[in-house]
Symmetry: C2
Amino acid sequence: MKDVAKHADVSVSTVSYVLNNSGPVGASRRARVIEAVRALDYTPNESARNLKRRSASTIGLVVPDLANQFFALVTEGVERAAAERDVLVVLCAPEATERPISHHAKLLRSQRLDGVVYLSGIGTSPSLILELAQSGPVVLVDERISGFDLPAVVSDGRLGAREVASYVLGKGHKRLAIIGGPEALWTAEQRLAGYREAIAAAGLDREAVPELVGDYRMESGFSLAQQALSVPPKQRPTALLCANDLMAIGALEYCKSAGIRVPEDVSIAGFDDVPIASLLTPRLTTVSQPAREMGYQAATVLFEMLGEENNQPAHEPFPVTLQIRDSVAAPTSEK
Amino acid sequence: MKDVAKHADVSVSTVSYVLNNSGPVGASRRARVIEAVRALDYTPNESARNLKRRSASTIGLVVPDLANQFFALVTEGVERAAAERDVLVVLCAPEATERPISHHAKLLRSQRLDGVVYLSGIGTSPSLILELAQSGPVVLVDERISGFDLPAVVSDGRLGAREVASYVLGKGHKRLAIIGGPEALWTAEQRLAGYREAIAAAGLDREAVPELVGDYRMESGFSLAQQALSVPPKQRPTALLCANDLMAIGALEYCKSAGIRVPEDVSIAGFDDVPIASLLTPRLTTVSQPAREMGYQAATVLFEMLGEENNQPAHEPFPVTLQIRDSVAAPTSEK
DNA sequence: TTGTAAGCGTTATCAT
DNA sequence: ATGATAACGCTTACAA
């Protein structure tokens, strides 16, 4: 920068002024500066800027599992919002790196990160998240900590769950089983609540619907489906409501391996509408959430927090859409 | 930091010494310093460090499409290698952000990034990549620029392609079609070369095997499969060699939509072994690459470049593994 | 062994 | 409208 100043025969402050439009500069001098910048192929040193401005123009994105396409889509949304503001996004994959959340807290305090978008996904202990939130601005995606009201971007999972469940029930199923998500997770609770509402509305006895607790991973879908379906035929559920697509896929895999036909013998519904849901055989009936938009929104909320000291705008839950496909059919009226 | 020094009643340099083990410090003073650090909950300001050290402890990862699980896995590998060195990984998704590569070049020069791992995937013009490489250390993954010998981490795609093609030919297929990748891409060339070798080895006429050019995306797999199969039955290929899984999936989708049975009517083979390959019906025969390891290795190579000024170690191509599954069978000897 | 002080490249305050 | 100059928080000769 000194070089630029010299080359343009002005002072460094003038250079700074034109670079940031932060001060009045005479036309001729301004021209000389931009000319010098070009001539020397000058690029401002961002480290120095960051030091001065006490901000890194960088946010963190904590994502449990990139191979989960739902997360990948959210990530794209975050990326886009950040790019619009010339902010960098650093990936934090606790799963892959085996780092505790406290590490991210440290990143926040050390100014390497201005804020964090947190995709808990599979469930982190609330206290850890609170620790993180103490260290700097945090926005949760598709998650909420009961009791504390951290900024969060969510979709209307309860409604979505009610809708799929109603749809399934509308097909005439009388014996269902629910393969739910981890107990501590807000989304899991919401979806479970939605299922229950629909079941109650259909006049079914809630006691008659087993509620299994999974962990949102394929394997648990597999083993819980096995568990749910390993009962005498007359009690066997004719439909499985899975709280996310991964578990639904696991359930599907189990059925394949056990020779149980879907949807003829048992219907399966998922949640999330990951890109592969429609590529499976049968195509998975599920509920889609606007993943990219949610990521975009989350980042936007974060930037609002970073910008103004003020508001923490309440955002509506995002709408969800029932995706009716082949994995759900009417129960075959055997016996 | 000044506060810490005061609290411990030492000078700032002493604090710095203990924080970095960069100087000899007496036991008692050292103890006082770490005590003070704890007491004040001090976290070093990384921006200042970066300014001083002229490095950002941050690398960039350019990835065209996160929803592609192969890339997601590579990303996990990169993350892990970086985390081991306390280096941050910033995500650059040109697709999502619509930013030209020159932008990444600027990031390199402005010290926001120390280096870049580049996953071209779908193909970037070589000249742009070279521009990037001029601005700082770059490691390519699964890609190579012909003529220039940039550091790159690759797998033995040619071998893999030969193996899968041999396997298919071994099943007795006489009429094949190749759905290849973008012409400029090194991986696409390699795989094509491998296919050709196997075809020649089987004594088939190369002219008799149509080589279609796709773009590695599902849609092109769909439409090229349509094109390849829309010929009189006696000339119709009985097997499709797809240069990646996404196109294979597209081909599969086309067959489903057209009522063509796989593998009974036509066999399909892919490349990459993305996680969903084994979840499809039929399960996709494909070639797996150690994606996570490749990412890890790429980051490692980059760090070597950053560390020592010296070597640019030649790395062996990673091994590939043929995954035999259901989507390939012997041709039905109709007619 | 420990402290002093000179930068690192910017921005911003203040005279001019 | 412009230019010195003092921070920003840290590292590192160099001096003591």
